[in-house]
């Protein structure tokens, strides 16, 4: 059980910037829908992490240091709408985009060609690598590989 409380990483609302939302210095920022699958995976990593607001209308986060983004893809036929709107809003903020260093995708291979497509789209648009892909909420092996991978990635 991780002792991490993700909200600890989110400090008071920022008065400046386009994002207008809470400021975070977490090295991992993620979106997870109410299904909480991605949230569970991130909790298992045991690193400081900040979760984007569930609703698009809420002010989004503002990153203040380089970070890795974790985001899910749900099964759709085409790429249209693959990236959650909350993530689009977050990345429309230039500072958030500039600080993005890599993407980790969540999904299900049973979605076929669109498996982790949202991660591919964000990586292509922002010119950063897709670091890893995992399914649903990740196995213990996924957690080990990402934990080690992120440690090496930041050193």
């Amino acid at each position: 059980m991780s002792t991490l409380i993700v909200d600890d990483q989110v400090t008071s609302a920022s008065p400046v910037g386009d994002a207008e939302g809470p400021v975070t210095d977490a090295p991992l920022i993620y979106f997870s829908s109410v299904s909480d699958n991605t949230h569970r995976f991130v909790q298992k990593l045991g690193v400081p992490a900040a979760r984007m607001p569930l609703l698009t209308k809420e002010p989004t986060l503002r990153a203040t240091r380089p970070y890795v983004l974790v985001l899910p893809t749900y099964g759709g036929i085409t790429g249209k709408g693959a990236v959650p709107r909350q993530v689009v809003k977050f990345l429309n903020d230039e500072q958030n985009r500039v600080l993005l260093r890599g993407v980790i995708g969540a999904g299900n291979t049973n979605f076929g060609e669109t498996y982790c497509l949202a991660a591919d789209i964000v990586a292509a648009k922002c010119g950063v690598p897709v670091l890893y892909r995992f399914e649903v909420m990740g196995t213990s092996e996924d957690v080990d590989r990402v934990t080690t991978g992120l440690e090496e990635f930041w050193t």
Partner: protein, 324 residues
């Protein structure tokens, strides 16, 4: 069915402008956008390929598809419908009617494949086999019994295990043929079914977890124990069924890895940790890439295995929301 059918107690006009659970809308939209019919898939292009299969391979394929037809029939006529009276929101009821209908589309799709590739005699023989195969009948009976039980959350467990686990002994075969460039149009159709089942399993598993939120710790433990007991019961039967089908072509061990891999995902859909260790879920990479071209290991940047790794290929998503 002799017992009286359980129905929703009271029906109110469904108001899609008042949503209690956004997931209902998300999943409804996803299912509607994913809608398809077998007539859209050019199955007749597989006729020549079908002729290259040995009689044994053809018989195996027919049997696999009748087995899948049976499960889809169960899910359409009993499974998804049995979940409706337990729905937490009116929109969940609507999503379940969509799921039930698509299961009927899936069941009918296999008949489209049959009529394209096989003779009436072969089709009848395969359906006869499906009624006589003990392990296939047993799996349908186990799940149907749980659907008829009186516990709404146990019904969701049975349904999720059906959607996310029980289909995969069958789904393996068209992926196998596809990886060998055979029956590729049939595989395209089955991929559409697999994608639908993935959304169904995700949604029903999610609703199960919502139902758990108000449960006592004792009740949670009971349901967790129940999930693993049912999975073991179904798994043992599934292994027998896999041997019945695939021993003649020597693929049973490979299929079992695929079963383990999918059992893990079924558990995760219900919010439980994966159970099978990676040593027994190492699915043949050819099968994985037949399932999803994105699934290969070259995408693992961390392990350094991605020598062919490139920074994201350009993807045209036509989304207007981006500001850059």
């Amino acid at each position: 069915m002799s017992e009286k059918l359980k129905l929703v107690d009271r029906v109110q006009a469904i108001n899609w402008n008042r949503i209690q659970d956004d997931k209902d809308v998300d999943v409804w939209n996803r299912l509607v956008n994913n809608f398809w019919l077998p007539e859209k898939v050019p199955l007749s292009n597989d006729v020549q390929s079908w002729a290259t299969l040995t009689p044994e391979e053809q018989q195996l394929t027919m049997r696999v598809f009748t087995g899948l037809t049976l499960l889809d029939t169960v899910q359409a006529t009993v499974g998804a419908v049995s979940l409706i009276p337990d729905a937490l929101t009116p929109h969940e009821e609507a999503v379940l009617t969509n799921i039930a209908f698509m299961e009927s589309v899936h069941a009918k799709s296999y008949s489209s494949i049959f009529s394209t590739l096989a003779s009436t005699k072969e089709i009848d023989e395969a359906f006869r086999w499906s009624t006589e195969n003990v392990n296939l009948q047993k799996k349908a009976t186990i799940v149907t019994d749980y659907y008829r039980g009186d516990d709404p959350l146990k019904r969701k467990i049975a349904s999720t295990l059906l959607e996310s686990f029980l289909f995969y002994s069958g789904f393996y075969l068209p992926m196998y043929w596809s990886s060998r460039a055979k029956l590729t149009n049939t595989a395209d159709l089955v991929r559409l079914i697999i994608r639908d089942e993935a959304v169904h399993g995700y949604y029903i598993g999610y609703k199960f977890q919502r139902g758990l939120e108000s449960a006592t710790p004792e009740r949670r433990q009971e349901l967790k124990d129940y999930t693993f007991e049912l999975l073991f019961e179904l798994y043992e039967n599934e292994v027998q069924y896999t041997h019945d089908l695939y021993d003649s072509v020597g693929l049973a061990e490979d299929v079992k890895k695929f079963l383990h891999y999918n059992a893990n995902k079924a558990l995760m859909n219900l919010g439980y940790e994966a159970m099978f260790p990676s040593s027994v879920t190492d699915v043949n990479p050819a099968i994985l890439s037949a399932l999803s071209p994105n699934a290969d290991e070259n995408h693992d940047f961390f392990s350094g295995s991605g020598s062919s790794y490139v920074i994201g290929k350009a993807v045209n998503t036509e989304d207007e929301d981006w500001d850059f």
